[in-house]
Symmetry: C2
Subunit: 367 residues, 2 copies
């Protein structure tokens, strides 16, 4: 862990002051912003997500807004998932690929209207990418980054908290569906979504001046449920098998390699970016696939900053892209991006500096 | 200052181990990597650049490589600077713009051969951008990020250090020109360049496994000149008027607004991205321009994370995009991105939280 130097290349989150006041101790950068990554009690923050309700500043999930007559056409060109049946008010988890079929982001695509979409993005520059495609193809669409900043409320008690703020209609929302509304005059989109498998909602704040107000409002509404601050949790997301784009992927990763094949429809129109490459890869089979890895030993191992080589019978077969100490499994577990001939049950070795750690390849998710 | 949480979304620099061993205390993220930003003695590190020689890990300046028959065509399409006379072995500082004429990066473009170029980029994703343009236009060019990691050697004694390593031919290199060579068997490009106005060189390491070796080799060669570790220096670069893309620019900044008009040639071919918009902006005049701001008071003021509003006669006229305590001027100085009707000599107010700080607009550079 090192100090982050202040710089105006990092934009502030509307919740920044509130999270600092709530005791944020560490941050990470994401889409040129700071995201809190801890409030001083890692294990307590984890169990709060599993058993209670946790409040996250995820304003770093920036929105790339597509607005205009060709917004829907552009959305479909950007993603190889069939969007023809997407309804207004529905979100869809999509793969964005480049012309070679390489995964360049994995956003949730929200359809706000026939001519208005948001891509709620992971940590890569989809604003530039979408503008390049729109301009090169002469589409009638404006691509921008609106003043929209999500806050996540995650955990089994999240629904009670959000219902107490917005009303019981939120209990009927299906996964990834959303509705525009106001909370005490603050414009928001309320969606059933979030980067955990413990259930929950995201409030897309549509007025950056109201970040502190909204944060406090949720905190007060959550008090009966013992809400507390948290963040997208490395342990929970690895246990649950959730992908981190750019962390679990590299510059040659296609959707099939990382369990996103079911979000690729090979019969989408030919002008969808990368679809030719994806059809070819689908026919030929991917070079790699993503499995779990359970490492030997029952004490936490410090994670490095980058991928660790995985060897089988002394031969490099892939990489451990992320791992974490699992509080529930009491093991170090991680994601293995390994060659196709590696299978569940294989024993492998992980090279971690001077150490060699035995591991077994497993199905995902872990839990 | 906050802790950075380790994550595999941040790739390691080949010099990482060496900079940590040299005492790196703080880092910033840039192009999904960590860059050291201090070794515990800010003022000493500053004067070392001004009076001596300083060694920087700037591996975060990633290279976007254009390779193939259409590499030169793509390079010209990406930049509104006339490249028709660029020679092999010559670098050029260029503006990259989007179709609206907005500045999206300000790299040095190195021509390594007729079919091989590197864009040595600032902190935005030009790999995706260049691939989008190349693919949409059907160009015969491969766009990649090669294993190339610059180290900068900056300051008035840098030439002596680099000459002692590479030979006296480096003394003849002109600004931004470069040569491929080897240093004790390590493949490098040696360029007269670097993000300071104190003179110096960049060694583009072409084998990431040799980072520690090259770092130590330069440190030993620099010992007679009292070399020490440093980094792109906020104070020196603001005094010298050097732009920080993404820090001093926003999503509406064109090259004319930030003193890069002389790198825009309006008579480049019509297929150069953004040239229509730039011709129109040039004819109509920009809405804003960049001036210096010298703030009242003779003690350092703590910098915020983001831009500060600038007011004249109570009306908002622009933003202070960055400022720093100048060790040479003994004033807080910064860059003002202000409306065109603001002029050198104008008195303005800067809103810094609850404070209002008087300032005078000045020419750039400061020194």
């Amino acid at each position: 862990m090192f100090q982050i130097t202040p710089t105006s290349r990092l934009r502030p989150s509307p919740y920044y002051a509130a999270t600092v006041a709530a005791g944020a101790k560490s941050f990470i950068t994401y889409n040129h912003m700071l995201m809190p990554t801890g409030y001083g009690d890692p294990e307590g923050e984890y169990w709060r997500i599993i058993n209670g309700v946790s409040q996250w500043d995820v304003a770093v999930e920036r929105q790339v807004q597509l607005k205009g007559p060709d917004a829907g056409r552009l959305a479909q060109m950007l993603s190889p998932r069939d969007l023809s049946k997407q309804k207004t008010g529905q979100g869809k988890y999509v793969a964005l690929c480049n012309h070679a079929g390489t995964l360049i982001n994995d956003p949730v695509l929200l359809k706000l209207d026939d001519d208005l979409y948001w891509l709620s993005i992971a940590d890569s520059n989809i604003l530039f990418w979408s503008r390049a495609i729109a301009a090169e193809r002469g589409l009638d669409v404006e691509v921008s980054e609106p003043d929209v900043s999500p806050m996540a409320i995650q955990g089994p008690k999240a629904e009670d908290v959000v219902a107490s703020i917005c009303g019981d209609w939120v209990r009927e929302l299906r996964l990834f569906w959303f509705r525009r509304t106001e909370i005490e005059g603050i414009p928001v989109v309320v969606a059933r979504s979030g980067w955990s498998k413990q259930g929950g909602f995201e409030l897309y704040l549509m007025d950056g001046r109201k970040g502190t107000t909204l944060w406090h409002l949720v905190r007060e509404a959550g008090r009966p449920y013992d809400i507390g601050p948290g963040n997208p949790n490395a342990c929970e997301r690895i246990e649950s098998g959730l992908l981190s784009w750019g962390g679990d992927t590299d510059d040659a990763t296609n959707p099939f390699e990382v369990r996103m094949g079911r979000f690729v429809n090979l019969d989408v129109p030919d002008d969808v970016i990368g679809i030719d490459a994806l059809r070819r890869i689908s026919a030929e089979g991917s070079r790699r696939h993503q499995l779990g890895a359970v490492m030997a030993g029952d004490t936490p191992i410090e994670a490095p900053f980058w991928w660790l080589p995985i060897l089988r019978d002394g031969r490099r077969v892939g990489d451990l892209t992320n791992f974490v100490w699992s509080y529930r499994l009491k093991r170090n577990i991680g994601f293995a991006l390994v060659s196709r001939d590696c299978a569940v049950g294989d024993g492998v070795d992980i090279a971690h500096g001077d150490l060699t750690i035995s591991a077994e390849l497993t199905e995902l998710p872990f839990i």
